[in-house]
Structures are given as structure tokens and as C-alpha cells.
Symmetry: C2
Subunit: 213 residues, 2 copies
DNA sequence: CCCTGTGAACCTGTTCACAGCG
DNA sequence: CGCTGTGAACAGGTTCACAGGG
């Protein structure tokens, strides 16, 4: 809790892979896995053993030489590293189609995220339910963020207001925003932003198939 | 059309940025932009001029020294490079919440993608409509892919069947799959796969805020 | 003198290969 | 003897800095 590990900047791609390792380990554990080597863990993810070992080495030594890794304990370590060992509350801003789909997305709770509130500005949407949540006006957002000490938000508003909403989230004290709006958000330093640009992803894929012959 | 440019492997991050350049240029053009320098284009995207120029240099020379770029013609070049100059038909497999949200997502048509069919296996969903599309049984998929010469598919099935569906898409002749299921898809070489793992993205974001103090 | 286009230096992440411990 | 953990070599993308055209 007060570990304050002087995380000397872990490469972002390594962090991405760590999430894959954990996810895959959870699957293996559900099937009753015991020991696993870096090679085994790597190949189902189309990586190499060296890559896995290097990524883990950023955080410590989790295996036994000559043996491999204990799946359960490695998963435990990864959960802790990624903060997946405790539930993290998140909020959603923008209750359009995409927002509502994300609110129901099972992958989030499966990985330790709990949606605790959803906001919008449209009178048509406010008061409606998404699952067990009632959509609230965004003016209620700062109070909820403070009350529940929310650190993460999903941003699914139209692109036109994304920046404005991001500013409000920043002001309210949110620490990270995962934005689904196209365009880069301008934010103050302490706020981390992740971007998921769906159309851009599709365009990149289209490019990659166009360029191979 | 038969340019067969010996695209000597453009870095993936460069392609990602190209989509951002184009998107941003479209916005600027809508506001009546004329000339733009690499610096101007860069800074709203939090990049540097050098980066922009280097990325463009992979494909040719689009600017005029001492002047900058003509926004309209640069956008045109980028559209051609990215294949956004012509509409690309796509299909959707998996008509769950996420799939239906993607089917309605405006960003796709805005960037030149047209959803022409949606598939599922659930009798509850087949025959229902998503916008103007009727959900069909996936067994119809190969015929549609052939008929419309579909190259791209969105995969929004549960993770448990994602691999199986990917194999069917592969077999049907689809060239690229954008998968929203967690886990790495095993595919034959000619098939390109893009992954959008929502929970992984959120986890990466959570990590990044946890590690800064 | 401005801004592009680009060789060259730089830097960061990946891969190799092996020392080291079980 | 196997598999981890890790220095060292490598690769590839980014940044620098400037030549070159307008």
C-alpha cells in the first residue's frame, strides 16, 4: 500500500503484455494449471520465453530456476502489480450506445473493475437504467467522484464535448480517463489518458491488409 | 489500383499516426483550413513536426519547402494511402451489446467503412434488426463474404467462440479481423488481426496511474 | 529566412546467449 | 541438466540537425 516502488518507467508494451499474461494465467488456473514455464506461457500468446522473462524481471523474480513458475502465485503477483487484486471503482460518462454497451461489458468486472455510476446530460437518458445503475446528470459527477474516491472514468461522449468533459473529470479529481472519442485529449499532467479509437484501429487493419500485396 | 507499391514495411505506430493526421485534417478542412505546417499539424496531436514529416516521408513528398502542406491535398493523399478514399464494406459477427453498439457507431461510416451485414448464432437475435440491417445466421456469412467481396470483419462474439469464428472468417476469405474478444487469435498468415482488448486497456491505464507516485 | 525532407545519432525495447541456481 | 534471470548485442523507431528548395 505504501510500497512506493520507484517504478523506473516500465515500457508500455511490457505493461500491455502483463495484462495478457494475467488473463491467460486465469484461464489456465481455471483449468487447474500448476507449474508453467516462460516458454509455455509465451507461445499461446505468440511471444517468446525471453520476452516473458524480461517483462517479469522488471518487477522481481517470480520463478524457480530449472523449474518454472507456479501459475497460481505468478497470477497473484501479476494481480498485485496490475492492481487487479482489489476492485477498482470506475464511472462512465456518456450513455450512448457505446457507453451502455461498455456498462454491460463483462470483461470489466472479470478483471476487477466495478462500474459505480453512469452520467450523461440528455434529459431523455437521465433517470433511465443501465443494468442496476441509474443514469445521472453529469453535474452530480464531482460529488460521486469525491464520495467514492473514483480514480478511473470511461469517456464515451461525442467527440465534440469530449475535451470539455475530460476537463470536468480532471477537476473532479479523476486520475485516469479511458477515452473512446477520436482525437487527442489535452490534459494536465497528473491525469493519465488512454485512447481507444475504434475507427482508427479499423483503418490500421485495413492498411495492413492493403499493403501486403 | 495496381500500384503495388513495394511498401517496405511501414512502422505500425506511424500508420496509427497517419490515421490521426487524416482525422485531424478532416476537422480542420471542415473549418476551412488552407495551408498547414508540420508543426501545426503535430502540436494539436501532441507530436513534433519532425515526427509528422518523417511519417509522411514513408510515402512521398507532399509539402512545399518553405511553405508547408496544402491541407486539402494532404488529406487527399492520406485518404488514398489509408484506403479511405473508397468505401470499404465490413461485416459484424456477434450481435451482443458491444456488437450492436459498434453497428451503430458513427465513426465507422465517417471514416469510409460501411457495415453490410451482421451475424450471430442465437435464434433470439436472428431476424432482429440493427438499424437497417437484419441479423442473419452465421451460416450465411460465407456466401455474403463472397458475394460482396468482404475483406474486413468485426468480431464481437464471446471469447469462448472467438477462435472458432475467426477460423470460419478466414475460410470464407476475409482478409482482416478486428477482434474485441480478449485473447490472441491463432490465424493463418494471409489474415491480419487487430485486437481491441477493452479490459486490458483499462488495466494499463490503471497501472499507469498507480505507478506515478 | 521559412519549412520540408532526410542522413545520422540516439534511444528504447527486443532478442540472444549464457551464467547461475535448483 | 532445465529453466530462470540478465548482461550484452541488436533492431527499429524517434529525434536531431541541417541541407536544399522556395
Amino acid at each position: 500500500m505504501e510500497k512506493s516502488r520507484m517504478t523506473k518507467s516500465i515500457p508500455a508494451p511490457a505493461v500491455r503484455r502483463l495484462t495478457l499474461y494475467l488473463q491467460h494465467l486465469e484461464e489456465l488456473l481455471a483449468r487447474g494449471a500448476g507449474r508453467i514455464s516462460s516458454r509455455e506461457l509465451a507461445e499461446s500468446l505468440q511471444l517468446t520465453g525471453a520476452q516473458v522473462r524480461r517483462d517479469l524481471a522488471y518487477f522481481g523474480q517470480f520463478g524457480r530456476r530449472g523449474v518454472g513458475y507456479e501459475a497460481a502465485s505468478l497470477a497473484g503477483n501479476l494481480r498485485e502489480i496490475l492492481g487487479a487484486d482489489k476492485t477498482q471503482s470506475i464511472i462512465l460518462v456518456g450513455a450512448g450506445d457505446l457507453g451502455r454497451a461498455l456498462a454491460r461489458y463483462r470483461g470489466f468486472p472479470q478483471r476487477g473493475f466495478k462500474l459505480v455510476a453512469a452520467f450523461d446530460v440528455s434529459p431523455k437518458k437521465i433517470g433511465k437504467k443501465i443494468g442496476s445503475l441509474t443514469i445521472q446528470h453529469i453535474r452530480e459527477m464531482p460529488a460521486i467522484v469525491k464520495r467514492d474516491n473514483i480514480r478511473l472514468a470511461l469517456l464515451t461522449t461525442p467527440a465534440t464535448v469530449a475535451q470539455e468533459v475530460a476537463d470536468q473529470l480532471d477537476l473532479a479529481g479523476v486520475r485516469g480517463i479511458l477515452s473512446f472519442a477520436p482525437g487527442v485529449l489535452q490534459t494536465s499532467k497528473p491525469l493519465a489518458v488512454g485512447q481507444v479509437d475504434l475507427a482508427s484501429n479499423l483503418q490500421q487493419l485495413a492498411f495492413s491488409i492493403a499493403s501486403e500485396e
